[in-house]
Every structure is written in structure tokens, then in C-alpha cells.
């Protein structure tokens, strides 16, 4: 089937989407130097800044979370492709401050390469920055080496807790420690039903039979571990929640954050049905679901499926989750 999307020239996709996004939310964000989405009102220079990078095509991620209490800037690449290190160092120069910068990178080859290279340049220029790598995908196994585990939608609640810590005036080391605590207590599992089309090449990024689903699929069609016949919402939810709870080693009395992140073509209706089943299962273990998100945060074009995310929260993290934020796609008052 030929690709059916409302686009213009494939080469201009990222530029046009950033133009539209930043003008739609012109009261909150601005576009700087073509590829850097920054807060409209800059944060106090005495506070730690939060920076991230990543490819486009996953809207509203990642730039949807630039705003007060979350990211200070996001550097955007091309569709599913990381931005180059020169743009990242440019953003670092814009955010440079004595308080320092926390730089959040999702574990994908191109992102990590650009991130490492920008870190090397930052060091040469005397920019104070610490990098944190998210790698919470448990599809290859919760114990498999970090380089095999991708960074999925978990970066978004991580921006929230780290952003709130930065806003509270904590030092770079303190913000880093909080972010790392969250990072080490989170896990994501994705399930795919229907492929997405790469909006530049027009090709489907993977194939699945009509009656199949795949647990563990990455956000660019990377193969998962469990291709199976379609299961019901409840069966799927319980299967995924079981693995996630094991991965974060949550036990009776623990508090967790539960997120259902739609991949693009899965309806809000389905997401609520899945959420309900996952929550029931988790609460049945005596674990409290104390914070929830259900919706589209990090999408993969029109892919069918969702990511289920859990994170263990202590009182400090829970408080940060509820702290005020004012990003286009995450607001807490």
C-alpha cells in the first residue's frame, strides 16, 4: 500500500513540524537555530538546566516536554535520526551556567554517539554538564547489558522528576543522583500490533501478520522477543505488568508510577482498558499505584501498540512528580 500521510516535501518534515509546534505553543516554547526547542522564559541561571536530544517523528516527544519544571531545551534530529553533535554543543553553549547542565540521552546508537561527542567538546570548552543514559527497555531481559537495552518512553517521567529537582534549586550532583535513582528503578515494555510507515522513505518499518502481536518491539521497529498470536487486552496487560514488576523488583507495600503510552494508532479506549487491567493486577500484589499517565507521549507515527512503563517511587520522587510543571504536554498546577 502506498503511504497516506499529510506531508509536503519529505526532506522538510522536521523543519515544518518544529515550525508548527513552536508556533502552536508560542506562549511556552521557541525555536532557536533551526533544531533547538527552548523554553520561552529562560530558567534562573542559578538553577541546573535540563537538556535532551533525539530524532523527530515521535511527537509530542521529546520537545513536548520543554517547559517550566521539565526540560530547558531539546535538540531535534531528523525523522528517527539523532541530531549531530555540533547542534548539541550549540545548545549546551546556550544553557551554559555555573550551576551546570543535566543532559539526558536515550540509549540508541546515533543518540549516544552524538551525546558522547558533545560531552567531549563540552569538556574542552569548560561547560559543566553531566550525562545520564536511559536504558529501561526490558525486552532483551532486565539483566542484559545496558548497551542492549533501549531508552523508551521512560525518559519523559524522568524529565519530570529531574526537572522538578532542578527547579527546586538542587545542585547538579543532587539532580543527577535523583535522576539516576529514578533511572535505576524504572522499566518499559512495548507491544506492537501494526507497523508504522517511515514518512521519508514511505516504507513500513516492520511487518506483522494480521493475527499477530509482538511484545518487546522498539520504537523504530526493532525486533522484540515475543511474537505471538493476538491476546486480549487483559491477557496482554497482565503478561507485560508481570515482567515489569519483576524487573523493578517491586514488592508488597511499594509505590509505583504506571504509564500507558500509545504508539500512535492505538485508541485511548484501548489504553484505558489495558491500564485498568494492569492496575488491578499490580494492586492485587499489594503494590500501590500512586501516580498514573495514560495517553500519547512518545509515538511512532501510526504504529499500533503501546508501551507500558512502571517506576518505583519513594516519597522524594513522588513529591517531585507532583511538583508544578508547565510544558505543552505535561502540566501540573
Amino acid at each position: 500500500m502506498t503511504m497516506k500521510k499529510f506531508i509536503n516535501k519529505p526532506d522538510n518534515l522536521t523543519a515544518e513540524l518544529l515550525e508548527g509546534y513552536c508556533s502552536a505553543f508560542s506562549n511556552k516554547v521557541q525555536l532557536v537555530s533551526d533544531k533547538i526547542v527552548m523554553r520561552l522564559k529562560a530558567k534562573d541561571k542559578k538553577k541546573v538546566a535540563l537538556l535532551t536530544l533525539g530524532g523527530a517523528g515521535h511527537e509530542p516527544a521529546l520537545s513536548g516536554f520543554v517547559g517550566e519544571g521539565m526540560l530547558d531545551a531539546s535538540v531535534v534530529g531528523d525523522i528517527f535520526a539523532a541530531p549531530g553533535a555540533p547542534k548539541v554543543i550549540e545548545a549546551m553553549r546556550l544553557l551554559k551556567r555555573d550551576a551546570g547542565i543535566l543532559f539526558v540521552v536515550l540509549n540508541h546508537a546515533g543518540d549516544v554517539m552524538s551525546g558522547n561527542m558533545a560531552m567531549e567538546m563540552a569538556q574542552q570548552e569548560g561547560i559543566k554538564v553531566k550525562m545520564i543514559l536511559t536504558h529501561e527497555d526490558i525486552a532483551p531481559g532486565a539483566d542484559s547489558p545496558i548497551e542492549n537495552r533501549r531508552g523508551l518512553a521512560g525518559c519523559i517521567p524522568l524529565y519530570k522528576v529531574a526537572g522538578a529537582a532542578a527547579e527546586a534549586g538542587k545542585s547538579l550532583d543532587e539532580v543527577y543522583t535523583i535522576a539516576e535513582k529514578f533511572n535505576n528503578n524504572m522499566a518499559t515494555l512495548a507491544v506492537a500490533l501494526k507497523p508504522a510507515t517511515h514518512p521519508q522513505s514511505g516504507q513500513e518499518i516492520f511487518t506483522l501478520a494480521d493475527d499477530e502481536m509482538e511484545i518487546g518491539m522498539g520504537q523504530h521497529g526493532e525486533a522484540g522477543t515475543g511474537r505471538s498470536k493476538m491476546l486480549s487486552a487483559d491477557e496482554t496487560a497482565v503478561k507485560m505488568a508481570t515482567q515489569l514488576i519483576l524487573a523493578v523488583k517491586a514488592k508488597k507495600g511499594d509505590k509505583i508510577h504506571l504509564m500507558i503510552n500509545g504508539a500512535g494508532a492505538t485508541t485511548q479506549m484501548e489504553m484505558f482498558i489495558v491500564y485498568r487491567a494492569a492496575k488491578k493486577y499490580i494492586q492485587g500484589l499489594g503494590i500501590k499505584v500512586v501516580h498514573s499517565l495514560v495517553g500519547e507521549y512518545l509515538t511512532v507515527q501510526e504504529m499500533g501498540g503501546f508501551q507500558m512503563f512502571v517506576a518505583k517511587l519513594d516519597d522524594e520522587l513522588l513529591k517531585l512528580m507532583y511538583a508544578p510543571a508547565d510544558a505543552p504536554y505535561w502540566t501540573v498546577r
Binding site: A82, P83, M113, H198
Partner: protein, 213 residues
């Protein structure tokens, strides 16, 4: 032809290589659609355009500066992992040479080795992983062996290009363990890796550019 190569010589080599990659855009994307997401031709096309763009604007006649600028421009292309890999390759070459360098065969090979060393800092891929490393390792070994045995630069580049082409072809029977192609595991066998192929075009193009100089 003298056996030393200067700014103009390297420019000719890189231009020919970049044109070769540009001309193969569709072929490389087609290779990629068998194992990846079908955009490698576009990605490496952007890098080739960056090389040509920097050369067109540069009037420094300083090879060290030119290579650094090419590295920076390649890194800025937002072409996924292709940008940092090619970018660091050129940056590493620049770091290894002096301002206004005139290169003999051995210093040319040393410069290339420094580029590859910097590139490899970005990836854990090893030989056999069905990546550009399968082109680079044999090509560099051939360059080094030819230079050490006293061959002139033309013969050395020819040996490197032959080894690069064979290295790229060797990926056909490999199972991908790196990059996006690893997603399809066993199904990647039987397809030549697009990243290994574009890298072989770089070596072949450099040889052709030198010969036609």
C-alpha cells in the same frame, strides 16, 4: 606523478569518493530496505554533499583545516549514526596531521588510521558484525601492509580499495549483530550491508580520484 599528496590531491580523492557515494544513493537505500529502514542511501548522500560543500567553500589550502571542517559538517547532517561515524573519521584524520601537511605514503596511511581509530571510539562493532567495520578493518590492514612493504601511494590505495570491496562483499554471509539490521537477525544473511558498501565506495573513490589526478 610525485608520490606525495598535498591539499589538492586529497581534495581530488575526496571529491571523487563523495561523487561515487552520491551516484549510488538509490542503490544503497535499496540495500538498506532489505535489512534496515531503507534510508542509508539518503543518510550517506547527506554526508557526501557535506564533503563536497565544504570543499567548494574552502580556500585555505590547509588540509588539516579542511578535514576538520568536513568532519564538523558531516557530524551536522543529522543522518543517524552515519553522521558521527563519518564525522569522527574526518576529525581523527585532521587531528593526526600538521598544518599545511604534505603527505607521503606512510603519513597518509597513518592519517587514515587515526581517523579510523576515532571512528571506532563510537562503536563497539567488531569484524564479523555486518557493519562498515568489515570494510574498514581489511582496507586499513591492506593500506598498512602496502605502505610498509614500500609500495607507492597509488599502489597502496589500489590495495586498500580492493580489500575494501572484498570486505564489503564479505558482509553478505554475515548475520547482523549491530545497528538496526540486528533487528532481523538471521534474515539479514544473504544481503550485503549498506554501511559496509558505502564505506567501500569511499576507498574505491579515493583510489580513482588519485589515479585520475
Amino acid at each position: 606523478m610525485s608520490d606525495n599528496v598535498d591539499y589538492d590531491g586529497v581534495v581530488r580523492m575526496l571529491k571523487t569518493a563523495a561523487e561515487k557515494i552520491k551516484a549510488n544513493r538509490d542503490y544503497l537505500s535499496k540495500l538498506d530496505s532489505a535489512t534496515g529502514d531503507g534510508d542509508h542511501g539518503t543518510a550517506v548522500f547527506k554526508v557526501a554533499e557535506a564533503i563536497i560543500g565544504v570543499i567548494a567553500k574552502d580556500n585555505s589550502k590547509n588540509l588539516k583545516k579542511l578535514l576538520k571542517d568536513i568532519g564538523w559538517a558531516a557530524m551536522s547532517t543529522d543522518a543517524g549514526s552515519t553522521s558521527p561515524l563519518y564525522g569522527s573519521f574526518f576529525m581523527g584524520m585532521s587531528e593526526a596531521i600538521a598544518d599545511n601537511a604534505l603527505l607521503d605514503c606512510k603519513t597518509f596511511v597513518s592519517m587514515m588510521e587515526a581517523g579510523v581509530a576515532k571512528l571506532r571510539k563510537n562503536t563497539k562493532a567488531e569484524i564479523g558484525g555486518k557493519t562498515m567495520i568489515d570494510t574498514l578493518v581489511p582496507a586499513m590492514a591492506a593500506l598498512r601492509a602496502a605502505a610498509d612493504s614500500g609500495k607507492n601511494l597509488g599502489q597502496t590505495l589500489a590495495d586498500g580499495a580492493d580489500a575494501a570491496a572484498k570486505g564489503a562483499e564479505s558482509t553478505k554471509e554475515m548475520k547482523a549483530t549491530f545497528g538496526r539490521a540486528k533487528n532481523i537477525g538471521e534474515r539479514s544473511i544473504g544481503h550485503v550491508d549498506p554501511g559496509a558498501t558505502s564505506m567501500s565506495f569511499l576507498f574505491i573513490g579515493m583510489k580513482e580520484g588519485y589515479q585520475n589526478g
